[in-house]
Symmetry: C2
Subunit: 132 residues, 2 copies
Amino acid sequence: MSAPALTKNQALVFDVLEKADGPLSAYTILDKLRDHGFRAPLQVYRALEKLLEYGVVHRLESINSFVACAHPGENCHKHGIVAFAICESCGQVMEFHDHEVDNRLTDWTKARKFKAEKTTIEMRGLCEACAA
Amino acid sequence: MSAPALTKNQALVFDVLEKADGPLSAYTILDKLRDHGFRAPLQVYRALEKLLEYGVVHRLESINSFVACAHPGENCHKHGIVAFAICESCGQVMEFHDHEVDNRLTDWTKARKFKAEKTTIEMRGLCEACAA
DNA sequence: TCGCACACGTTATAGCATAACGCAATTGAT
DNA sequence: ATCAATTGCGTTATGCTATAACGTGTGCGA
Ligand SMILES: [Zn+2]
Ligand SMILES: [Zn+2]
Ligand SMILES: [Zn+2]
Ligand SMILES: [Zn+2]
């Protein structure tokens, strides 16, 4: 699941996400890539699907947006569950891991024999700068 | 924020969710209430908005659906962050609280002065029965 | 009685995501 | 070399999710 060489479209989408200062929706990405020949949502969604699979992009379920992984190179997935703090004012996203949270959730799933495939942890609120 | 008497529409929507054996999308709710005079999505969304506010219904961000609170009467919000395990096969949802998870996330936010307004924890996977 | 808050109904629109078709390039076994 | 399978890509169409904007009626306190 580590990232092979990206195709042209995958590279374009990843580049847009990496340069952005916050999460972007698929349609926003599409708009940013019209000059590069993108015409339809599927071109974006198909690239995102692969980038998510490779673990270099994360999807923020609570805001239907996508963001480049904040920990390039280290294959984020291996660090366990990823959590996000999303500022609803400035859009900034902070990505972090907490092994104790992982452990507690894993304990819960083990006790109930629930097989978790994908876990979402997202906090929406105000960052320090915006709360002031 | 405890629940006042529900209006007619709110009661109808809540009733549908309570009787359902899993989460429902707003449009599914709409379809189930057409016989009761519902004609437009807003009728559902407006009722849901209040039910969420009262804490008797939860929104599952990762599947764009809504579910009745599994802990009627005790005002779920007071127990801290709510977490869900969602079976992608049978649709069953398990709702739970974990104070240690709460504490860890709260510690993180305090350390970074992030003011969390709404936290989502959702695990998607297979329940014991479906994994077998 | 006036003004306000709130629920409600309706129409229209915006925003998010995928189905289904066909084509081209790549790969990898025979 | 050839064929089949896989993968990426482009396009059109469609479906699902959510809200904007406008207007109506009702209840209730100033
Ligand atoms: Zn990451
Ligand atoms: Zn901020
Ligand atoms: Zn609850
Ligand atoms: Zn199941």
